[in-house]
Amino acid sequence: MSTRSPAPVLGAALAVLRKDLLAEWRTRIAVNALFLFAFAVLVLVGYAVGPTRLAPEDRPTVNAVLLWIVIFFSAMTGLARVFVKEEEAGTASALRLAAPPAAVLLGKYLVNVVLLFAVTAFIVPLFLVLTSFEIACPPLLVALLVLGGLGLAGASTFTAALVSKAAAKGALFAVLSIPLLLPPLVAAVSGTQVAARESSFAAGLDFVRVLVAYDGVVTTAAFLLFDAVWRE
């Protein structure tokens, strides 16, 4: 007889993560979309601005923007799938009945973090080489990439849950995500410009703080609101 209580959140979230990564490994739909988009844009950026087409003093400003544009649009390409595919394939009901909502959100968030960090690890070294983008403070850039990635993944995951039942998912995902993601993107771009110019981590600390605060707010809001979004 079933008289157990709901499953622990962390264990169930890891099960969702494992299942999604296994399914992704077998189909490679999101991975292909993310990496092909990132590769195409990198080639275009490398061709358009290359190592010699920008004056050295302009490189931090222009390259920081371009780097985050590539990361942002790569995220938009693949991260919505975590919830959209559950609704489109008809598996959402099974997941709703079996897993605690918080575990579903955490598991899907972790899937997007893994995907985004993988594509970021692919994009950033190639971008730095193709554009001869020199970073004066690499630890600051790494901190911005990690915190910016967590924010992008968090907001994208929650927005994906919101739009998953809508008819025009792609358009709605972009419309809802862009205003949500502007604050961390502005902080990440500004911080990356500082990382290119200044060798001191402290020079970019304000931008790190903004990203930490954003990640905290987005994660908290997502967990508070997700139950209503997922169940309705």
Binding site: S2, T3, A7, R18, K19, A89, A94, R231, E232
Partner: protein, 208 residues
């Protein structure tokens, strides 16, 4: 254990799908729900299971040993509900066993060795028929059997079966009868169908 609906209603805008409906289903009961296409059978089951919100009234599940309490809204005890329906799908990229093991894990239970395989054999799927195949490569009838195994994997208190015999051969219909008989011992089953073979398994039938 019992399931109680009190003036339960579901509408879409001004269009009422069913209700107000009041009923009490005690443990050991199999309830059939019949009605023409579009009469609201599936909507009733989804509302009782907490998959969609009621427009009015309430549904409560009183679990074993909690009969004197206030009862639980179905979505509060989703882990005690089993669900099979035509629009339900499991993960096509995984094998049948991997699907069942995943649903064990998200319910907080470590998958017992051989349990998924035994359940699948119980619904008429011996290992050679599915063990190395993704779910999407199985036939529609085989996938329906996997859904029956999924729905009973956690020994639910309340089992909802929407058109359970659809796409099943005669042997598969026997499997449905066995699943319902086991559920009668364990708790409550509610079957929505127009198939007389399904409705014959019910103790009583509500017509919408």
């Amino acid at each position: 254990m019992r399931l109680v609906a009190d003036k339960l209603t579901r509408s879409y805008g001004a269009r009422r799908i069913f209700g107000p409906l009041s009923l009490e289903i005690p443990k050991g009961t199999v309830l059939g729900v019949s009605g023409s296409n579009g009469s609201g059978k599936t909507t009733l089951l989804k509302t009782l299971a907490g998959l969609i919100r009621a427009s009015g009234g309430s549904a409560k599940i009183f679990l074993e040993g909690e009969e004197a309490g206030a009862g639980h809204a179905p979505r509060e005890v989703a882990w005690a509900i089993g669900w099979v329906a035509p629009d339900l799908a499991l993960y096509g990229e995984l094998t049948a066993e991997e699907n069942l093991e995943f649903f064990e894990r998200v319910r907080g239970r470590a998958p017992a060795i051989g349990r998924a395989r035994a359940l699948l054999e119980g619904v008429g799927l011996p290992p050679h028929s599915h063990s190395k195949k993704s779910l999407s490569s199985l036939s529609t009838g085989q996938r329906q059997r996997v859904k029956l195994a999924y729905a009973t994997l956690h020994e639910p208190a309340v089992l909802f079966l929407d058109e359970p015999s659809s796409n099943l051969d005669a042997d598969g219909v026997e499997v449905v009868a066995r699943v319902v008989a086991a559920q009668r011992e364990r708790g409550i089953a509610i079957i929505a169908s127009n198939d007389l073979r399904d409705l014959a398994l019910a103790d009583e039938t509500v017509s919408l």
